[in-house]
């Protein structure tokens, strides 16, 4: 039995096999058989990942990261790309998140999608997505990572447009694909520039060469900064940051498990993973780091403001995802790479849970997604309620829940870390307050208050077991997932950060320093505990909770009055700052106009068709003129003979005359 480390390729290929089997044969199968293949492949992958983790922990530190190349792929002169995998601590974290949360969501889907048409197609696409995502996180070079990158984009498109008979769904799928494509242009150019600079796209080679390069300070735009910014463009598209976030809210057209898996836990985190993976590059390109942090913080705040007034339960969660991704980028941008990844992990737990629970609510409400038509569901769907409550506490950053540790780590680094930036910290704090507010608003509107639906029309029922069990598991993770950071509160080491230290310690002024700080302060555990609990993040979370409680429990008439009094601002937020309309007018319409009037009418019809038709036309015209010569009139022929004779005579005699 070979060690898993030697057959790493089996991890991504199991879901691919599942996708192939379901895709080719699943059409006529009963749901149970499709499940067996779809869930089975992902389960086996998860088991393989666990085995890999076990083997990884047995390895001495010097033998990590595991770098295995399985076959050459593209070899063109000095450009060489292999199918090589890179497994280090960061990869382990990502693999566990992707395969673990992925498995839970797959199990949930068997219940949620049970009555939907195209069941086999759904699982085929989901397995295909797992294949690409696993390739992305395990890739050992930029090009293989890009394969996974593009592949998850494709699966996202397929899954968003799953209900392909609905125009809004296929439009959303197209929008997602095209918007991320715009970022991918930057990514591709970044890969090319990286190859040009480092003569390789291999991570090992690049990291080594970057270490030996000088650090480019803020404001200094050298080649490293350019590469970093270009790669960031791809991350901005894929992870839905400003200005390329517009596809994520529309992506809610897809089934809720898709929103949970792809647009909360895994695909959108690909951008965060990429920046973390390339941390060596970013640590040497400080302007790029500043851009990362700024984009993250601004997006976090901006998106939270939109989420305040949305009425569709999934849209609130979508804007929340954009906002939380912003926090992850903020963490990376201020050098707290481990904190950013930590937040990625906890976010997968609580956001995945939030989406799945929202799906459970929608399922219970028979398809209703508008929160204004819900209310008082607390007693009717208790399991859903309690799990969602746990997730809300996590996302709001309530102490001891997972989100608290990760968010505090990020905000701490933004305030006190080596790349600290107070402005961004303020944005982060404000965003945290808004996050707490809108999440509790969601909870209160959905589960508390008066029943705002017609009981005769809607039969509220709890979801089946295969949907509830993943909810409970995720709730446990959302509550307890942060506890290996618990010791920092009493002055002890942060296990997560220590685990990732071998990955990030190469960063010159990065996490290592932050970790040292936590360890070298000689204070009493009690003081640390109190300080943690009174952190600014916690205080604003409390403010948010109280405001939401006041607005939606105590005095439900207040929101409406407030909306009327600041009507302009309210409409602006409700309409998402009119960004979509702006893009439509400024980018999409002119592009369509150019495509139609310039490229189609002028270039294609006149130039290209004109050239081709013109060639034929010209040939015909020449022939038409030439045939006039065959008039049948002998005297004309005679005259033409004379013409020829004159020409020859002149030429020959002229030449003879010259020669003479």
């Amino acid at each position: 039995m070979p060690k898993i480390a030697d057959i790493l390729w089996i991890i991504p290929l199991l879901p691919l096999a599942g996708a192939a089997i379901n895709g080719f044969f699943g059409k006529s199968w009963p749901n149970s058989r499709v499940n067996a293949v779809g869930i089975g492949s992902v389960s086996l992958t998860f088991l393989a990942v666990l085995e890999l983790v076990r083997e990884f922990f047995k390895l001495p530190l010097a033998q990590t990261p595991i770098m295995k190349s399985f076959a050459p792929w593209l070899v063109a002169g000095s450009f060489r790309v292999d199918f090589n995998f890179w497994v280090d601590q960061l990869t382990i974290v990502m693999l566990l998140v992707v395969s673990g949360v992925g498995l839970l969501i797959h199990i949930y889907s068997t219940g949620y999608m049970a009555h939907e048409g195209g069941y086999y197609r759904f699982f085929c696409y989901m397995n295909l997505f797992m294949f690409f995502m696993l390739t992305l996180v395990m890739a050992g070079n930029l090009v293989l990572m890009f394969v996974g990158w593009e592949g998850v984009g494709l699966c996202s498109y397929l899954l968003i447009g799953f209900y392909f008979l609905r125009k809004s769904a296929i439009d959303a799928g197209k929008k997602a694909f095209i918007t991320t494509r715009i970022g991918d242009v930057g990514f591709t150019i970044g890969i090319l520039l990286a190859f040009w600079t480092f003569s390789s796209v291999d991570f090992g080679t690049i990291f080594m060469k970057v270490e030996n390069s000088p650090v480019e300070a803020v404001g200094q735009i050298g080649v490293l900064t350019t590469i970093a910014l270009l790669l960031l463009a791809g991350a901005i598209g894929k992870s839905a940051q400003l200005p390329l976030y517009v596809w994520l809210p529309d992506a809610m057209e897809g089934p809720t498990p898709v929103s949970a898996l792809i647009h909360a836990a895994t695909m959108v985190t690909a951008g965060v993973y990429m920046v973390a993976r390339m941390h060596a590059l970013y640590s040497h390109a400080l302007t790029a780091m500043l851009v990362v942090a700024t984009v993250g913080a601004v997006t976090a705040f901006y998106s939270a403001t939109i989420g305040l007034v949305q009425t569709d339960i999934k849209k609130v969660l979508a804007y929340s995802t954009v906002s939380q991704l912003g926090y992850m980028f903020l963490g990376l941008g201020v050098g707290a790479y481990a904190a950013g990844i930590f937040h990625l992990m906890t976010h997968a737990f609580f956001k995945g849970l939030l989406f799945l629970a929202a799906g459970s609510v929608i399922h219970a409400m028979g398809g209703e997604q508008d929160m204004r038509k819900m209310g008082g569901l607390r007693k009717k769907i208790p399991v859903t309620y309690w799990t969602m409550f746990a997730a809300t506490l996590a996302i709001a950053g309530v102490p001891l829940f997972s989100g608290f540790f990760s968010k505090e780590a990020i905000l701490d680094a933004a305030k006190d870390g080596p790349h600290a930036n107070l402005t961004l910290w303020v944005l982060g704090i404000l965003g945290a307050m808004l996050t707490s507010f809108y999440m509790f608003r969601l909870l209160f509107l959905t589960f508390f208050g008066k029943q705002r639906y017609d009981e005769h029309k809607v039969h509220v029922h709890e979801s089946p077991k295969n949907m509830l069990v993943p909810l409970v598991i995720l709730a446990v993770l959302a509550i307890g997932g942060g506890w290996f950071a618990l010791p920092t509160m009493i002055g002890g080491p942060d296990h997560f950060q220590n685990f990732l230290r071998p990955v990030f310690e190469a960063a010159p002024a990065g996490t290592a320093a932050v970790a040292e700080q936590a360890n070298t302060e000689p204070v009493s555990p009690g003081a640390v505990l109190v300080r943690s609990l009174l952190a600014p993040g916690v205080i604003v979370a409390l403010i948010g909770f109280l405001t939401a409680w006041w607005f939606y429990i105590r005095r439900p008439d207040v929101p409406k009055k407030l909306a009327q009094s600041v009507h302009g601002l309210y409409t602006l937020l409700l309409n998402k700052y009119y960004v979509d309309e702006f893009y439509l007018a400024v980018i999409v319409r002119p592009l369509l106009w150019i495509s139609t009037n310039v490229l189609w009418h002028v270039v294609d019809e006149n130039l290209i068709d004109g050239a081709v038709n013109g060639a034929g036309h010209t040939a015909r015209e020449i022939g038409q003129q030439a045939r006039q010569l065959q008039s049948g009139n002998t005297r004309s022929y005679a005259a033409w003979v004379i013409v020829g004779a004159v020409c020859v005579t002149v030429l020959v005699l002229g030449v003879w005359g010259m020669v003479r």
Binding site: R627, Q630, S631, G632, N633, T634, R635, A638, I642, A645
Partner: protein, 103 residues
Amino acid sequence: MNAVPTSYFLILSAILFGLGVIAFVFKRNIITILMAIELMLNAVNLAFVAFDRANGGVHNGWVFVFFVIVVAAAEAAVGLAVAITVIRNRQSLNVEDMNLLKF
């Protein structure tokens, strides 16, 4: 015998040839056109003989003239035969009536 320079003969030859060309282009009777061809051949013969005398020695020019005359005879015979056939066919001697070979 050098009294008449060769160039005089050549100029006459050129003039006769040119007149032959003009006749070839201008006349409409097919027989006349054939006769114009004979005129051109004669002009060429004159040039050959003039050059032959100018070169002296071996009379290669005469041999050429000889052959020209022989071939001209054959050509005239066949040409007239063809002309008779065409004239019989088109019922006209006007070369402009023989215009079937057109597009």
